[in-house]
Structure formats: C-alpha cells, structure tokens
Amino acid sequence: MQGSTPRDNLLLRCLPAREYARVSAGLEPRELEHGAGCLQAAGLDDAFHFIASGLVSLVRPTDGDGHTGIAVVGREGGAGLEAVTGGASALAGGAVALTPVRVWSLEGEAMRREFARGGAMQYNLLRFLHALAEQVARTAVCKGHHSIDDQLCRWILLALDRLPDNEVPITQAVIGQMLGVRRASVTDSAARLERDGLIERARGRLHVPDRAALEARACACYGAIRAEHDDLHRCLGETSPRA
C-alpha cells in the first residue's frame, strides 16, 4: 500500500543509505483524514512531515476564519518547512490534508541537525524549497491575472500529478476554498469544463478523461510549475511519473 514506508517519500528515498539510517529511527508515521486541519493545530508543531501518500495543500489564513491554498504538495515533499528554517510555527500558514494522507514526521531538532550537516538531506530540502517557491510565485501570478477557469485547470492538473489514476477525489466546495473563490464560481467553472468535455463531475470527485486536452486548455502557469516539479524529480533521482 502506498505510503506504508518512509521511502515512499522522494526526499527520503533519495538519501544515501548511511544518511537515511541516521534519521529513520526518528520517523513517526501519522495518518491524516481528509479535511484534517492545520498540522500545527493537531499538535504537530516543531516537526517536518514527509508526505508518503495523499495530497496536502499549504494554506494561508484569510480574513475571518478562512484560509486559501498557496501550494499543493505530495510525496515529492512535505509540510512544516518552518521546522528547518526556524521560524515560529505561530506565524506559519499551516497545511490541510485534501485526501487521506500518510506522513512520516521527524521532530524539529533532529531535522535541523541533519540539515546542518550539509549532505543529501540539505540538498533535497533546498531543491524542494526551490520547486515550492516556483509554485507559490506562479500561483500569485495566476491569481492576479488569470480567469477562474484557468485557475481551476491549473489546480486540477497539479492535483492529478500527485494522485493515482485520473481522479481528483475532492469536492468542489473544498477546491473553491483552495482557490479562494466562492463555491458558486467553482461550480460554474467546473460546469463549463465539463461542457467542453475536459472533466466529468461526480459526487465528491472529478474525473479527467483526457489529460492532454486539459493541459492544452490550461494557462502557462501549469506548465511552468510542472517543469519545476519534473526537475525536482530528476534532481531527486527519479523519473517524474508523468514525464
């Protein structure tokens, strides 16, 4: 079953055996149900969480009690970079599990110690930070410039890159929250994409019958983020699943 070993996460898989041995004893498995809120709120404060299966969105609080999605992460990375960079978790945005998620958590001190050694863990984390920065930056551009249809295409494709098959088992309401748009807007946009044969809507999930068609419809933001994602896989020593 995917996620059942730490090495299902790419940052850990691509550590040389000796380096992996240093951290493996400290890795604690955790299951997060979909919708499970902020990892900080779950008491998993000073730790980095290597994602082994499922889809996580990094989020930022918005006016009132809401939050908006900043980036999506799967097993190519993790949540809790603040544990490495050292910022107070109270200021961090947090993360939300969008599907059932399995993580392997390493507490902050051990993480920082391993990072400071300057070996493969540091390299892997900085490459992940790079890919994440590209996704966040490009998302900022997309939200400022592109239509909701464009943003929805981008989001669905990024989710598919991190999930098995061609299904996104997430409700339109949650997707709307991640995009920071009203639910009605997402429903309308999804209806348009369905009318054009790009997605099929069912209760609680979206199916994508033709990925190439959806990619052709998407704005350039998806391609830019995807290119960084593929590069990350290459640097971590694995062919991207969709390359």
């Binding site: 400071a116 050694r117 966040v136 490009r138 900022a140 920071g180 960084e228």
Partner: protein
C-alpha cells in the same frame, strides 16, 4: 586590535548584525561596499549568481515575470535581508528578478566565501534560512492579496512595506513602475492613487508619493500588510538575538 566600527557599515544589515563576532570576523575581509542604483538588477533567474548583497539602505523588490510579460511583485526587502540568496543555497531558489526600487547601499560577499560560511552550518546559515522563510511567507501572502484584495489595497501594502525600510515618509516611484510591480495596467494605478489622494492618505505629484499620516494609511491596509510586517519584525528580533 580591531578597528572601531565606522558609523555606517556592514552591520547596518541585520543578517550580519545578528552574527556572533567570530562568525562576522570570518566574513569581514571579503565584504565589499557597493551603491545600489534605481532599477539595478541584482540577480535574475536566468543567470548564474556570483554574489550576495547584504542590504544596508534602500529597497529591493522580487519581481516574477512570465514569458508573455505578466508580472507580480512577490516581496519587498530592505536591510533586514539581502539579494542573491541562490549564491548560498546552491542554485536559484526564488524564481524572480531582484530589482532595486529605491536607491541605497549594500555590502557584497562573493559566492566562494559565502558558500564556505553557509556550509559550516553556523549562525549565518540559520539567519539566511530564516530570511528565506520570510521571503516565502511574503510570496504566500501575495497569493492571498492578489486573490482577495483590490489594487488600491495592494498599492497601500506596497507603500507601507517600502516606507518601513526607509527614513522619512516619501517614495519616488512613477506610476509606470508601480503598475509593472503590481502587475496591473497603469490606468489601474492612476485610479487607485486617485482614490487614496481623495481620502487624504497620500499626496502624489511628479512621481513622488508623500504620506502625511502613516496611521491613516495603515487604517486603509488589508490584513496582508500586518501579516507580512509581523513576519519580518519577528525575523529582526531573532536576528538581534544572535
């Protein structure tokens, strides 16, 4: 044996000020003073970076450009940080141009001594990582701001973040430059600036923005300004902790 510090020197930069003396001394001989000119490009993602700039005065923006010319300003940096982070991190981390928006000064450190110090796993590495996190947080907040807030609010945020890094209450910026930074059409900036003028929050003539009353302008800011400000105030406190 050491010279007394000049009135203004590298330790006007908070990343350097927060280093213990032995760590600072390792770098001091390699630090070179430079002036930062308006519009100067300190690093761009397509070129190999060769030095890090510890900013001591002025304001630098991180600007993301797409192939078709769309842009978004991702973050604002002053003497709490620097430009050219990729030099330390072994490659381009932030996919943006780093452009001088308000002229100032910096102390540069070339790649080799920077990398050497970073690889020691010392306080400099810790300060740079914290700084990178603050940049990431600013970028993340931009995502929120671009989605939820008006051009006027984004303009207010940018003016306040810049003034936080400058002495006085004045900012020299053409509407064209602001439009490029916020990733909007110039007409949008004219309109937003007009609203702010009518509210008495700014005076904007001949490319100079004057803020007569900061409190009034802050009252018009979206929460994004306060969120970003608290992040780098936290950074400044931690840097000072050494």
């Amino acid at each position: 044996m050491t010279d007394s510090q000049p009135a203004s020197g590298p330790r006007d930069n908070l990343l350097l000020a927060g280093l213990p003396d032995d760590a600072y001394e390792r770098l001091a001989a390699d630090l070179q003073p430079v002036e930062l000119a308006r519009g100067q490009l300190l690093s761009d993602p397509t070129a190999e970076p060769d030095r890090f700039y510890f900013i001591t005065a002025g304001v630098v923006s991180l600007l993301y450009h797409t192939a078709n010319g769309s842009s978004a300003e991702l973050a604002v940096v002053g003497r709490e940080g620097g430009a050219g982070l990729s030099v330390a991190m072994g490659g381009h981390v932030f996919p943006a141009d780093e452009v001088v928006q308000v002229p100032g000064s910096a102390w540069t450190l070339r790649a080799e001594p920077m990398r050497r110090e970073f690889d020691r796993g010392s306080e400099l590495q810790r300060n740079l990582l914290r700084f990178s996190q603050v940049l990431m947080a600013q970028m993340a907040q931009t995502v929120v701001c671009n989605r939820h807030h008006s051009v006027e609010q984004q303009l207010v945020r940018w003016v306040l973040l810049s003034l936080d890094r400058l002495p006085g209450n004045d900012l020299q910026m053409t509407q064209e430059s602001i439009a490029h930074m916020l990733g909007v059409r110039r007409a949008g900036v004219t309109e937003a600036a007009g609203h702010l003028q009518r509210k008495g929050a700014i005076e904007y003539t001949r490319g100079r923005i004057h803020v007569p009353d900061r409190t009034a302008l802050e009252a018009l800011a979206c929460e994004c300004y306060r969120v970003v400000k608290s992040e780098y105030e936290h950074l400044a406190r931690e840097s000072a902790g050494g």
